[in-house]
Assembly symmetry: C2
Homo-oligomer: 441 residues x 2
């Protein structure tokens, strides 16, 4: 019997736990689900005979140590900053580790020790990072093996609301951590276009979007992520002429979001004095010059070039000009905006989320230029089996199974950019309905 320890039974763990319990019958697994709230672990394991829900606070070092020691493999669904602590214990006790988070420098530093211990520290095993790596690398390696030369690689991902549940003018609801949506893009986006470096500051990010079409779903727009350049070495495509990774939103979202950026409403660096006394309208007025008539007119005068009727309608729909009060103490502008949006962009009962990912490739082969588009659309089944939970949890589960079956024999710090991992991963994901559609021109 193989023993798996899952740390953290949060939202994203539900599909993972179900998958592992399902394969436990044939693979003879014991799945320990550890959470700081026992009821949460119990609820997600549903008295399955292969499951062992336990109460565990990882600040209880002795108990954590004992639980890792009795396992064959640890899955950490904890916040990313906690992973190095867990990874060090896994190295010490010679246990495999799987996470869905980016490889941190601290994690990277454990590579050699992990190899000596004969264990794998498997990271970036979710959706983004995770499925994005696997699906892109499969095509990149295919192109290379045919003797082709990749010239353009663009990749966009969005955690969105499914069309059937899209009933607001923004075409967006919070299907994942709202805070990340509010702060998205702060810093500078760096990418490469036609062999030339390009930088987009935050203040221009949401005005420099690209139109993305996904068959059957209509028009989206993508804004550039902060770091596209490092993917050249990650994917072994140092000679690529254009590389851009971006985030997808429904068409029209970005130009409206840009208003918040221009006003300074996404700033999380200071708290607003007496924020609890502010109405939505007064919150807006903090960022407007004092001259002028009513709030709407002042906003129009101030950001004339960045506004149109459609955007004004979106802002009105949010209640930004209302006198309702959120009564938030010590709020930063970002937190005030987030709270305002959380009320408007919350999922209703029966609402379904949707993950959209699209890779765009251009490559030279035998003197000809080819383009290839590979798109993934995953919709949630319900409020628990969301598209996000499935696309993050299933690859983590599949990779866990592959390691325990000995089909992934790698040791040290790994990500799903290598064939030994991405081929069986993508193959099993397809069987579970997570399948990319390719379109060649």
């Amino acid at each position: 019997m193989k023993k798996i320890l899952i740390l953290g039974a949060g939202r994203s763990a539900s599909s993972l736990i179900e998958y592992l319990l399902k394969v436990s019958a044939t693979n003879n697994y014991e799945v320990t689900v550890a959470d700081t709230i026992l009821a949460s672990a119990e609820q997600k394991t549903k008295k399955n005979p292969h499951a062992r829900p336990i109460l565990l606070d990882i600040t209880d070092e002795a108990k954590t140590h004992a639980e890792i020691d009795r396992s064959d493999l640890v899955i950490s669904m904890l916040p990313a900053f906690m992973h190095p602590t867990i990874a060090k214990q896994c190295v010490l006790l010679k246990k495999h580790l799987v996470t869905a988070s980016y490889v941190s420098q601290e994690m990277k530093d454990l590579d050699e020790e992990a190899k000596k211990a004969g264990i794998i520290l498997m990271n970036e095993s979710g959706l983004d990072p995770g499925i994005d790596h696997a699906s892109a690398m499969k095509i990149i390696d295919d192109i290379k093996s045919q003797g082709g030369k990749l010239t353009v690689f663009k990749s966009y991902t969005g955690g969105l609301i499914a069309p059937e549940s899209d009933d607001n003018p923004w075409g967006y609801k919070f299907t994942w951590a709202p805070r990340n949506v509010i702060l998205a893009g702060q810093g500078t986006a760096k990418y490469l276009e036609n062999g030339k470096l390009a930088f987009i500051p935050y203040t221009k990010l949401f005005t420099r979007t690209e139109k993305i079409q996904v068959e059957g779903l209509g028009d989206f727009e993508g804004y550039a992520n902060r770091d596209s350049l490092s993917y050249r070495s990650v994917y072994g495509i140092e000679d690529v002429q254009t590389i851009l990774r971006g985030t997808l939103r429904k068409e029209g979202y970005c130009e409206a979001w840009n208003v918040f950026v221009q006003l300074g409403m996404t700033d999380d660096s200071y708290t607003i004095p007496n924020s609890e006394k502010l109405s939505n309208r007064e919150f807006l007025e903090l960022f407007l010059p004092s001259e002028g008539e009513d709030t709407q007119t002042r906003l129009l005068d101030y950001l004339a070039h960045d506004l149109n009727d459609e955007i004004m309608y979106k802002l009105e729909w949010l209640g930004l000009f209302n006198d309702t009060k959120l009564q938030l103490k010590n709020a930063t502008p970002a937190l005030f905006l987030q709270t305002l949006l959380e009320d408007k962009w919350k999922l209703k009962e029966g609402d379904i989320d949707m993950i959209v990912m699209q890779h765009q490739f251009e490559y030279e082969l035998k003197g000809e230029t080819h383009t290839l588009q590979s798109s993934l659309v995953v919709k949630g089944d319900d409020a628990i089996h969301t598209a996000m939970a499935k696309t993050v949890g299933l690859p983590v589960g599949i990779i866990t199974k592959l390691i325990l079956e000995g089909k992934i024999k790698l040791t040290g710090v790994q990500t799903p950019t290598v064939k030994e991992i991405y081929l069986p991963l993508l193959s099993e994901l397809e069987g579970l309905g997570i399948r990319f559609e390719e379109k060649e021109n």
Copy 2:
């Protein structure tokens, strides 16, 4: 004989040293000028019999300790982050300290110990902070003592080029640390207007300027400094309805500078790969969308609403569209821009700098509304006795003398916001030609 130790004989110390040497004859001072470059200390003391130029590196703790120990008062013209280290030794050895820098939290924490030791830790004794506090507080206290109620306080300061040396389209040259000019305004400007909080994000800062007129010098524009709100408690004017501190530039400067902000050229958070290979034009193109014809057209298409002929002329004058190369390795955008500007905005032989400060007050007195404007204009004498060196160095020197003469008897952490300091300080500054002109309406 009183012994003064000056740490750091940089640019801003020349007028200070001359002032102290001049009063040494009657006051019987010994002025030790310590620098890491002995020649620099020697050059500034010109074999004056009251001067004692020495070589001193403050990382040499034993020697620094000995030098402080043999002095009655220490003046630190070192970078501000070094002051707490010096201050701690001054407390220990019971020596007075004078600096021209803002009171840091570390400095503030020494208040009680300094009082116990019977010494003064005198800070903010230069121009801004320094003369700004003294001159504003004098008027604020006057208004209060008459029974008036201050409603509006705005204060602007600029380190500028004198009109007779102003021969470029920007109306600006570097008369002080260029790096501070490049990074100026990053963050969020916070102020109060008609009783309401107002926030300006960096991206809008240089578009929301106020026109400022200074008699005989024409039109300037002021952009808001980061922190105006804290001056309510600093100046004891908690009930003021409008408070704004700002920086002065010649009219037209800010809308042109805004182009750099919009492009992302003032970003100091990352280095540009292969920056040494970039021409000025290629540097600009890093920040432009790739579509379009020549560089100028692309810029015009991109920032149409933020550009006009006058701004384009200013940019052209800087050589921004040229193919010359600065050959800077590992440059951030901000450093690249700074280096480009340093060449164009450098002082020529004979160029004279100028300090402009203007306070604007509005107050209620006996049922009537009064406005008062108090302006200071100081021009440099030459390349050594610059307006900046005089307005920073002279108040430091005067306050030093006042402490040694026992005319300032305060102990603990102090700034020139109190009568005991600002009255004799302003009075002596007037005699040296640093005089505010008041205009009442």
